[in-house]
C-alpha cells in the first residue's frame, strides 16, 4: 500500500465498495417491485416510520463534506471548521418548529406543493422548481466532484471513471427504486457511517484516557498554533464571513428540497415532527463524534499528517483510522482505512441519489404535470417523465463534474447550495405559512431575487473572481448569505405589497397545515408488503 494518497489501486477498499454496491442494488431490486405508483415513487408510499425517516434525514445531512470535510477542516484550522457543522445542526430548530408538520399536512410530494396550495399554482410551482433545481445542481456537482476525488485517492480508481461510476449507480437507485430505494440506501448508510465514526471516535478517546481536556491539549500542541487552534479565526479570517457562513447554514436547511421532501415519506404530521426529532438526535451525536475525530487526527497523526490528509484535509479521517489500526502496511491499519473509506463512499452514493430524486420531482411533478400538462397527465406519465428527468440531470451532473475537474473548489459549491436555499426557497416557504397577505408575485419575485443575488455575489467573491489582483474581488465575503437572505425576504415583501391582493385562501391552508384535516393519507402498510 502506497503511503501517498495517489494512484496505486487498492484491493481492500474496492472489495468493500463492491460489497456496498451489492447490498444497495439488492435494496433497489426489492424497492423496484413495490414502486408502482406516484406515491410510491416520490414518497416511498408514506411507509417510512419516524425513527427510520430521522435516520434518512440525518443520512442526507452526513454527506462527505460533513464527515471528511468538517473533520478535515478541524484538522487543518481548528475551531473554524466546526462552525458550519454546528450551524447546520441548529438549523433543525426552525425546520421542526415552522415547516416539518405543515409541509406534511399541506403538501403531497414536493415543497412546491405547499406554495401551490394557496398561490397561483403555475407561476408558484415554476419558481419553486427553479429554486429546487439550482440548489440541487450546486450540491450535486459538489458531491460528484468529491466522489471522484475521494474514490481516486482511497481506492486508486481514476477521477473520470469514479465520477461516471458514481453517477451510474445513483441513477439505478432512483430510476428503478424511486424514493423507497433512496430512503433505505440512506438508512443503511447512516447506520454504517455512524457506527464507523463512533468506533473511530471512541478509539481516539481511548488514546487520551477518555479525557477531552487532554485531547484538546494534545491537538493544540501538535498544531503549532497553541490555544489559537482551539478558537475561531484561523480559516474564516474575516469576522463578517463567520456571520454570513453561519447564517447560510442555519437557515439553508429550511430550503433544501431533498431534506424537505423526506417529510412526505411518513404517514402523518406526528411522524413528521418526530422524524425531525430523531434526525436532530442522530446529527447531534454525529457532530460530537466528528469533533473528536477532527481533533484526534491533529493530536495523533503527527508531523506527517498534513501531507497524507491532502489539500483541504479531506483525507485526515481515513488516515487517522489507518494510524489507529496499526499504521500503513499493517493488516489492522489497512482494514480500518478501507472501512472508513467505504463509509465515505456509501455516504456519497446515498446523498447524490436523494438529490437527484428531489430535482426530478421539481421537473416531473411540479413543472411537467402541473405547469406543462396542467394536471391532465396520469401518474404513470409523471413517473415516466421523472425517470427521463433523472437521467438528464444525472448525465448533466456527470458532464459538469468532469469538465470542472478535481481541482475545482467543492467547498464553496456546498456553501452556495445552502445560501441559495436560504435566500431563494426559505423566504417564500416561511411567508406562505405565516403571512396572510403574501401572494404569487411576492413568491416569484422573492425566489428570483434570492437566486440572482446569491449567485451573482458568489461569482464576485474571492473564491471565484479570478483576476490579476487577488486581493480585489468586487464582493469581499466568501459566502453571500448575509446580503442575499435579506434581499430574498425584502423582494418577497415588496413584490407582495406592490401587487394586488389575491383571493384569500390562507384560512384553508392554515386549517389544513395546523390540523392535517384533508392531508394526503398514508397507504396501509400491507399494500407495501
Amino acid at each position: 500500500v502506497s503511503a501517498l494518497p495517489v494512484a496505486a489501486v487498492r484491493t481492500l477498499p474496492i472489495v468493500i465498495f463492491a460489497g456496498i454496491l451489492a447490498i444497495t442494488l439488492g435494496i433497489t431490486y426489492w424497492a423496484s417491485r413495490r414502486t408502482t405508483n406516484a406515491t410510491a415513487f416520490w414518497s416511498a408510499g408514506r411507509s417510512i416510520t419516524a425513527p427510520q425517516n430521522g435516520l434518512a434525514i440525518a443520512g442526507d445531512y452526513m454527506s462527505a463534506a460533513a464527515f471528511l470535510g468538517v473533520s478535515g477542516l478541524i484538522f487543518l484550522y481548528g475551531f473554524d471548521g466546526y462552525i458550519t457543522g454546528v450551524a447546520a445542526l441548529v438549523s433543525f430548530v426552525p425546520v421542526l418548529l415552522l415547516l416539518a408538520e405543515r409541509l406534511r399536512n399541506a403538501g403531497k410530494f414536493t415543497m412546491a406543493d405547499m406554495l401551490a396550495y394557496r398561490l397561483n399554482a403555475r407561476p408558484a410551482r415554476t419558481a419553486a422548481a427553479l429554486g429546487t433545481i439550482c440548489v440541487v445542481a450546486f450540491y450535486l456537482v459538489a458531491q460528484m466532484i468529491a466522489a471522484g476525488v475521494l474514490i481516486e485517492a482511497l481506492a486508486g480508481i481514476s477521477f473520470p471513471i469514479a465520477v461516471i461510476l458514481t453517477g451510474a449507480v445513483m441513477l439505478i437507485y432512483v430510476i428503478f427504486g424511486g424514493m423507497l430505494a433512496t430512503t433505505w440506501v440512506q438508512i443503511v448508510k447512516a447506520v454504517f457511517l455512524l457506527t464507523s465514526v463512533a468506533v473511530l471516535a471512541v478509539w481516539v478517546l481511548g488514546k487520551v484516557d477518555f479525557n477531552p481536556s487532554q485531547l484538546m491539549h494534545r491537538a493544540a500542541a501538535a498544531s503549532g498554533e497553541g490555544n489559537d487552534y482551539l478558537g475561531p479565526g484561523l480559516f474564516l479570517t474575516k469576522p463578517l464571513d463567520v456571520v454570513s457562513t453561519g447564517l447560510a447554514f442555519a437557515l439553508g436547511t429550511a430550503g433544501l428540497p431533498h431534506i424537505l421532501m423526506r417529510f412526505f415519506t411518513v404517514p402523518d404530521a406526528r411522524a413528521a415532527r418526530r422524524s425531525a426529532g430523531w434526525a436532530v438526535l442522530f446529527i447531534g451525536v454525529f457532530y460530537v463524534l466528528v469533533m473528536i475525530v477532527g481533533l484526534g487526527s491533529r493530536a495523533l497523526l503527527g508531523a506527517g499528517g498534513e501531507k497524507l490528509a491532502g489539500e483541504g484535509g479531506n483525507l485526515a479521517a481515513p488516515y487517522l483510522a489507518q494510524s489507529l489500526g496499526g499504521g500503513a502496511g499493517s493488516a489492522g491499519g489497512d482494514i480500518f482505512f478501507a472501512v472508513i473509506s467505504a463509509a465515505a463512499f456509501a455516504t456519497i452514493l446515498a446523498v447524490v441519489a436523494g438529490l437527484v430524486i428531489a430535482a426530478s420531482g421539481a421537473v416531473a411533478h411540479d413543472f411537467w404535470t402541473s405547469v406543462v400538462r396542467r394536471g391532465e397527465g396520469d401518474e404513470q406519465e409523471e413517473i415516466r417523465v421523472a425517470r427521463i428527468a433523472a437521467v438528464a440531470i444525472g448525465v448533466i451532473a456527470i458532464g459538469v463534474a468532469l469538465l470542472a475537474g478535481k481541482d475545482f473548489n467543492i467547498q464553496f459549491l456546498v456553501g452556495l447550495a445552502f445560501s441559495v436555499a436560504a435566500s431563494a426557497n426559505f423566504p417564500s416557504l416561511l411567508l406562505a405559512v405565516t403571512w396572510r397577505r403574501f401572494n404569487t408575485t411576492g413568491a416569484v419575485v422573492g425566489v428570483i431575487v434570492g437566486l440572482v443575488t446569491s449567485i451573482t455575489l458568489i461569482i464576485l467573491s474571492p473564491a471565484v473572481w479570478s483576476g490579476p489582483d487577488s486581493q480585489g474581488s468586487p464582493f469581499p465575503l466568501s459566502n453571500p448569505a448575509i446580503v442575499s437572505i435579506p434581499a430574498g425576504f425584502i423582494a418577497c415583501i415588496l413584490g407582495t405589497l406592490l401587487s394586488p391582493a389575491e383571493e384569500d385562501v390562507f384560512d384553508e391552508l392554515k386549517v389544513r397545515s395546523e390540523t392535517g384535516i384533508g392531508a394526503e393519507g398514508g397507504e396501509p402498510a400491507a399494500a407495501l408488503g
Binding site: 462552525i83 490555544n227 478558537g231 463578517l240 406526528r270 384560512d507
Partner: protein, 98 residues
C-alpha cells in the same frame, strides 16, 4: 361554523404560538451570541475555562444540547397540548361530513 372560527382551532393556533415564538427566540439569541462571539470575540473564545477545553467548543456543544432540548420539549408539548385539540377538530370534521 368553519373550522377556523371554532374555539378549539383558535386555541390550537394560540397554544402552538405560545411554544414556537419563545423557542425561536431562544434559538436566535443563543445561536446569534455564539456567532457574534466567534466573529468578534476571538480572544475570549480561545480561553480555556475547564482544563484545556476552550469556550468555543463549550459553546458549540451547548448549542447541540440546546437543539436537543428544544426538539424534545416540543415533541412532548405537541403530544400533550396540541394532539388532543387536533383530535377534537378531526372528530368534529368527520361528524360534520356524516
Amino acid at each position: 361554523m368553519a373550522i377556523e372560527d371554532t374555539d378549539d382551532f383558535r386555541q390550537l393556533v394560540a397554544e402552538r404560538r405560545r411554544f414556537v415564538v419563545p423557542a425561536l427566540c431562544v434559538f436566535a439569541v443563543w445561536f446569534g451570541t455564539f456567532l457574534g462571539l466567534a466573529a468578534y470575540a476571538r480572544d475570549f473564545m480561545r480561553k480555556t475555562p475547564i482544563g484545556d477545553i476552550s469556550w468555543a467548543y463549550l459553546l458549540a456543544l451547548s448549542l447541540i444540547a440546546m437543539t436537543w432540548a428544544i426538539a424534545w420539549t416540543y415533541l412532548r408539548w405537541s403530544d400533550r397540548r396540541l394532539a388532543p385539540l387536533i383530535e377534537r377538530l378531526e372528530a368534529r370534521q368527520s361528524g360534520d361530513r356524516q
